[in-house]
Amino acid sequence: MATQALPAGRTTRYLSLTRELALTNFKLKYTGSVLGYLWSLMKPALYFGVLYTIFVHVFRLNQRDFPLELLVGIVVFTFFAECTSNSLGAISGNAHLVRKALFPLSALVVSQSITALITLSINLSLIVAVAGPLGRLHLGLQSLLALPLLLELYLLALGLGMLLASLHVFFHDVAHIWEVMTQFMLYGAGVVFPASLIPLRWRGAFFLNPLAQIVEDMRRALVTPAAAWTGQLVGWEAAIPIILSVALFGAGLLCFRRLAPTFAESL
């Protein structure tokens, strides 16, 4: 075994590497476009516009708080989709670097999650800044619960990202499967409709999906605190998606650590 390069200050080194890579991702993402960073705001907004039109004007989903619930769902979903799909290509897309330089490869994936996190923070701040004064949000003590929910979301997305990034090196099918999965999640996680539409007997199964649980509870934390939280809807089983998120994070980390030494020769 070769000894670790430049062992001094490994944590600091890792953090500064991740930061530089994340900043680079963010810069590269919008390079060459006229609106630049604005696209990170425009995309969910346009998405929202389309879905709002469909569900409110076509399907007549006229609950008062639905638009904002939809917006919160889209922002959470955008982070999930961006983080996982960008992580997926983080190793295979940097084959040259992976084969010719030694550095902690996980930084490539973590930096993608940070980049997605930057976009998420901007989007959420914007929702709070715009919708808050309009009185459409219900911000209170319960809103603090958004923080552990975001942590759960982050662990889930990063864990899946690690898993996808390592598997994609060996199986290119993963990209296609994940693309379909992501599209499915838009509906399967109740991003585009309120959970109240789900028949009662299916709700237990529905909220086993961590993303569904996160989206729903984020809506409670920010928009409609009076409605039922997932814990109230399904009881103790609401702990399962949280455990699943943490477990997926652990599994992603383990899988990545196991496979990382073989990435360079498998690419």
Partner: protein, 416 residues
Amino acid sequence: MSEAPAEPAVQVRDLVKRFRVPIDRSRSLKYRFSHLRSTSRYRELLALGGVSFDIQPGEFVGIIGANGSGKSTLLKILSGIYQPTSGEARLRGPFSPFLELGVGFNPELTARENVHVNGAILGLSRAELERRMDAILDFAELREFADQKLKNYSSGMQVRLAFTVAIQADAEILLMDEVLAVGDAAFQAKCFDVFARYRQEGKTVVLVTHDLAAVDTHCDRAILLDHGTLVADGPAASVTAQYRRRVGEAQEVQDTAPTADLANVERWGNGAIRLDAVELLDAAGRRHSNFETGRPLTVRCRLTAHRAVDDWMVGFAVHRADGVILAGTNTKIEQARLPSLEPGQELTVEYRIPFLGLLTGTYRLSLAVEATQHAVTFDHIDQGFTFRVNSTTWKAGQFDLGGEYRVVSEVRAAEG
């Protein structure tokens, strides 16, 4: 620094690396699922078959060998990018994480931004990089282009920047793969200046390269790999000489194949006379494509007339590997008489070189059959044949001038 018995900077013991190369390179899940049980779908490739050596601190070692000999694999295992199948490779002290220049560069980022990213890969903090930024840009001679995107840089500029970044690593051991293959002569000189400074500082440099001349000039020691085994390890000059001989022998074996392939060469002409066969013969009249400086070489060609031709000539030119013509002559210049030919008649013509003046290198041969008076080409084969020349001398350049030194005065005391 302790004065205790010096531990080697690099320690390699019985290093074995096998690659499993899928025979069917399909990487789909469907394939995997439908072949769950088959384990024989891989071919084992032995890249390194038990290599051992030590490198002492401060040594400057070149690793040489043909393509596929395992040199790059060895370097990747040393740096920890590949895992060995068995055996061990131990490096003492921090080493530079880049095996190649500019691998972490992104063309869409400016020079400054690229320095930040690559500096972070090297393990330098942002503050440290900011402190060094001016020095980096100055050394790379790119200060006024610092905020331009890298894609607008010339390749020379990119290489300068890459090299400057790479040497920022506070490494005790430098591992470099084909660094010398890039950049102009001035840049390469700069590389070696830095390497020389490293040597003074007692740093260790391990260089994988095809450039034997560079190994001769700059390395203390060379390691020769052949098909994953270490076949020579010693003073650079003697190992590179051994490698040159091996290359020559290997080609000799390959080249005893008796047919010259005239089908796949670039040729043109109206076909009034066509070259049917071209052979290079050694002193004993055997076909070869390996020759030795100072020994005879004969270019022999057989041709057939397809029309009646009475005033014609045949000639050839020797090119350097990069296409530059080094020598050339034809029957007209040499005032050699050629007979008139009727359709269907064959003729064999040869040009004998008693003492081959070319020095070590790979050369290419062009041949042409033309009308003497008018610029009409009957048949022209452009750089269609490759041959090698090996020298046993150390003379420099492409040609042995064939001269000799003489002392033309008496030894005298200087006056005054």
